[in-house]
Symmetry: C2
Subunit: 237 residues, 2 copies
């Protein structure tokens, strides 16, 4: 039998295969704390619980897994996030009551402001502070997935400025530093923090300032490639 004939006769329905979903851990930074986007589940299973935005791949509409995530996130936030990266896939027989299930989990970052208006119009999606979320009973294994995403972001905070995608396009260095401090879980030396960013020329000074009650801080925005930059030397853990 040649391949053409094989493919013509192939019917995947005769093989049992796992459920396939994607889930996104969307972080932002607002009011000095890390928040994650949760969605109220309106369907079984785990109806009524909060969980991560995500869902089934639509074989017609999505041509890649990332299409699926972007589509799901756009439904909830109104926009596509400026940072989206695959986190990890979790697949086992127990995580979903409907049966053997695989989820491809993503981490995403966006500014609180860029979807504030959209979120306000819906009741089934909201930003929740991470320390509140960790006390909640979430759907499926979403609590564990959030834990994985958080740990990954913590690592990134040690060797990159990826967390900056959780801020508005223009931000101050003290603001970025505080975000890193929240992620890493300890305070940082501002001199060290500024020095490495300056030296790597990762940010552009917009020339504008923002005042918080003292000396106004310079507003910066990221250069195009800055998300991909990694420092050779990590901040201390």
């Amino acid at each position: 039998m040649d391949e053409k004939q094989f493919l013509a006769e192939y019917d995947k329905r005769q093989y049992d295969s796992p459920l396939v979903t994607v889930d996104a851990v969307m972080f932002t930074y607002h009011e000095e704390c890390l928040k994650v986007l949760l969605v109220g589940r309106s369907n079984h299973p785990d109806q009524g619980k909060w969980g991560l935005p995500g869902g089934f791949v639509d074989l017609e509409r999505d041509s890649t897994l990332e299409d699926t995530v972007r589509r799901k996130l756009k439904e909830k936030t109104g926009i596509e996030p400026p940072y989206l990266e695959q986190l990890q896939s979790i697949g086992n027989a127990k995580r979903d009551k409907r049966g053997w299930s695989v989820t491809i989990a993503y981490t995403a970052l966006m500014a609180y402001q860029s979807c504030e208006a959209h979120i306000a119009t819906v009741t089934d999606a909201q930003w929740l502070a991470l320390d509140v979320v960790s006390q909640m009973d979430l759907a499926f294994d979403h609590q564990a997935i959030i834990g994985l995403a958080r740990e990954r972001m913590r690592q990134k905070a040690l060797y990159s400025i990826v967390p900056a995608y959780a801020l508005p396009e223009a931000f101050t260095l003290p603001e970025l530093q505080h975000l890193h401090e929240v992620l890493i879980g300890k305070s940082l030396q501002k001199k060290s923090f500024r020095r490495r960013i300056e030296q790597a020329e990762l940010l552009i000074d917009t020339g504008e300032k923002r005042s918080e009650g003292g000396r106004p801080a310079a507003l910066y925005r990221m250069k195009q490639a800055s998300g991909a930059y990694t420092f050779v030397r990590n901040l201390e853990d």
Copy 2:
């Protein structure tokens, strides 16, 4: 309708879902070069081509994705690899002629010697040098997956001694250094390389030596947790 009833009536066959496979990029180090384990495909699609070991999740036998990979690798090599880590999932409508397909790709490392005898007994699996493989026409997108795995290992060589899992249990420092050099693609200062490993106390001196024509080199083995250790400062790229 309550959840119990929902689950009783749920039939996943009514929803179209992607094919789900796992694939493993198994590296080893032998005769001064990096090799990857390839398997000759005996079935359509891409029958006759070489590809990565892997296959469909067996919903009955496997209770996690990792079970699937370990099972597939054991079939080909006779043993389970000492290092196995999820690499990335690739899912899109085009990568498999049978239709929308997701593969969860893993990177694995093992010593050449530990499956040499088993591999010799089969004709459909063999170790191939990476620079040979890169010229081959492999099944599906496996060439690209190998590229991803290689890049990940290159990164790990800069900040960890994970590559040591591609060596026999006892190995010499010059041997490990050369493996890192092959991965990174440039030569390293032996002083720097030794110093960081010594200082982090990652290896145990077995007391034995191995001679290669000059002064005999000390044989070491990894401590238990050494694979998880990351240096704060990377080797230069």
